[in-house]
């Protein structure tokens, strides 16, 4: 995998910060890139492991998803749903305008 990672630069930090919806000041981009590269270069050692024919492990339990019956057992708790909202109106969450 070392051939995959050409290292993180300020531009990549900008991109992942945007995807993560995290504001990063311009002058923090380069130092953050250095930090992430430090961590990633340590992680690189994973590439040494021979994983040919190995299934990825997505869960620590080897059972199937349990299924529930199609019954209405929940909802009708608007007060609870809205209790912690920064802003509500007429039973709605109110958020900054999401279209121009």
């Amino acid at each position: 995998m070392s051939n995959e990672n050409k290292g993180v630069d300020a531009e990549i930090v900008r991109k992942i910060a945007r995807l993560s919806r995290l504001h990063v000041d311009e002058d923090r981009l380069a130092p953050l890139a250095d930090e992430l590269n430090g961590i990633l270069s340590w992680i690189e050692m994973l590439g040494e492991v021979d994983v040919k024919g190995v299934e990825p492990m997505t869960s620590a339990v080897a059972i199937d998803a349990p299924l529930r019956a199609d019954v209405v057992t929940d909802g009708g708790v608007r007060d609870k749903v809205l209790a912690n909202a920064p802003k509500t109106e007429a039973g709605y969450f109110v958020v900054p305008r999401s279209v121009e």
């Binding site: 349990p66 299924l67 019956a69 209405v72 039973g91 709605y92 969450f93 109110v94 958020v95 999401s98």
Partner: protein, 492 residues
């Protein structure tokens, strides 16, 4: 056949400023599973509730809340998969599709990416005025719906209702196998009729039960594929056709002017009949799909699939073929009568003990006409199949004529009673007493002696006499009997 290679009929090519173009169309249909509760929570899915009243803490993505899969939704996906002749995957898995939007509480949509529950399939469509076309299905997967953002309650803010958040959708992805707007709408109509027949989705497009994302690109006939645009969330057949027409023209104009089509998501504006760009460019798309660690893989068995298969109802195509075969009605009639389950069921109840063609005509003509005029669903028809059957009985045993029956039907539709009651009440019984008819005929001949004298030279005059006799009987004389007696008496 992999139909991406199919070149549209010449008549369907679009002419630009410098040559011909063909349109390549693929569809993603989102069909809401007809479940009582949501895909991952026990909140209700009923349409039209007060905002945020059908929201569980799971749907609102409160900290620490976890999803649990609704068994019914898995079953409906399998049923639908079988209905579109598709491969059912015994191993499927839910993944997270990560993006931020205020009506997406978790910050990700739980969907199926790598391992959908249904794989490839195909269906046949019959666009109006063209030959049947096979359309490939790429996959069907389950996913949760987002909430609803309302922008017109405040000028500076958006109001969010999470009632739809977590409602179960089946996303049915077609291959890019369609070449005309009519094929696209016929495809949606076919999927709609299948899911309705299966009962897996109500298919009510106005309520958003079934919506389509349409992928459109243009190319020179048979040439390499162009860049496609995705037209989001279109909820009527007419808009689908309009949107494709507009979008194809827009793309042709761009390319012919030497430009390039941007691959993007566009919105169809119903009012203006236009498509416009939906997301700003800076909004990078990178959904970072990965297996949802809160959910384990869904494993089903072949026995489970077979058991569902055994309960599948007859699908529209098969039913249409059977109607033609069993009842001997024309393919066209059979197509209309099997377009949805309710019509087919009505017809099959009606046809018992009645003439198949007459039953079909009455349904497609008077009944559908009256329902259409009043915008009433067949299920809510004031005249049910038994009642209509009663009317057909009166025609069959010659109690009334077909013509009288039309008036009786109108009264039945207006709620005035059964056919029997109306005929009795209004004294509409056909006169079949030969003596009485003979007397009426004789009276008419006597009153029109000069006309009677001319009949020998001009046999068409008999129509005049039939009319007069029917008028005298207020339409109740059996027209066949009138005819025969007239012929005899006038010496024809």
């Amino acid at each position: 056949m992999f139909t991406a290679e199919r070149v549209a009929d010449k008549k369907d090519w679009l002419t630009g400023n410098d040559g011909e173009w063909e349109v390549i169309i693929g569809l993603e249909i989102h069909a809401q599973v007809a479940s009582k509760s949501k895909l991952f929570s026990g909140a209700a899915t009923e349409y039209g509730a007060e905002p945020n009243t059908q929201v569980s803490l799971v749907d609102a993505a409160m900290p620490g809340m976890l999803p649990v899969v609704n068994e019914f939704c898995i079953e409906q996906a399998v049923r639908t998969g079988l209905g579109i002749n598709a491969k059912i995957n015994l191993f499927s898995r839910f993944d997270r599709k990560n993006y931020f939007y205020p009506d997406l509480p978790q910050g990700y949509q739980i969907s199926q990416f790598e391992f959908p529950i249904v794989g490839e399939g195909e269906i046949e469509i019959e666009p109006e005025g063209s030959e049947a076309v096979m359309v490939g299905i790429e996959r069907l997967h389950l996913e949760q719906d987002a909430g609803k953002s309302i922008h017109d309650l405040s000028p500076n803010e958006t109001y969010v209702d999470l009632n739809r958040s977590g409602v179960c959708l089946m996303e049915i992805v077609s291959k890019p196998d369609m070449r005309t707007p009519e094929e696209a709408s016929a495809y949606v109509e076919k999927i709609r009729s299948i899911v309705r027949a299966l009962g897996t989705c109500n298919g009510d497009m106005e309520k958003g039960n079934l919506r389509a994302d349409v992928n459109v690109s243009v190319r020179r006939p048979g040439g390499p594929l162009g860049t496609r645009c995705e037209l989001k969330n279109i909820n009527s057949m007419r808009f689908i056709r309009q949107a494709i027409n507009y979008e194809a023209r827009r793309q042709i104009d761009i390319v012919e002017a030497g430009g390039e089509v941007d691959q993007e998501t566009r919105l169809f504006d119903n009012a203006k009949g236009e498509t416009r760009t939906m997301r700003s460019k800076e909004d990078a798309h990178d959904y970072r799909y990965f297996p949802d660690p809160d959910l384990l893989p869904t494993k089903i068995t072949q026995e489970y699939v077979d058991a569902i298969k055994a309960t599948l109802p007859e699908l529209p195509d098969a039913r249409r073929a059977r109607f033609v075969e069993e009842y001997g009605i024309p393919v066209y009639d059979a197509g209309i009568l099997t377009a949805d389950k309710a019509k087919g069921d009505f017809y099959e109840r009606l046809v018992k003990g009645h003439d198949a063609k007459i039953a079909a005509n009455w349904m497609m003509g008077d009944l559908f006409g009256a329902l259409n005029k009043k915008s009433i669903d067949l299920d809510d028809s004031p005249v049910n199949s038994d009642a209509l059957g009663g009317l057909l009985d009166l025609i069959a045993d010659k109690t009334i004529s077909g013509k009288i029956a039309k008036g009786v039907f109108e009264k039945m539709f207006a709620g005035e009673g059964s056919a029997d009651e109306i005929v009795e009440r209004d004294g509409l019984k056909q006169v079949t007493d030969m003596g009485a008819i003979e007397k009426m005929v004789q009276d008419v001949i006597d009153a029109n002696a000069d006309q009677a004298a001319k009949v020998a030279d001009n046999p068409r005059l008999i129509g005049f006499f039939v009319g007069q006799v029917m008028k005298a009987s207020q339409g109740k004389a059996n027209p066949q009997a009138v005819n025969e007696i007239l012929k005899k008496k006038l010496g024809l």
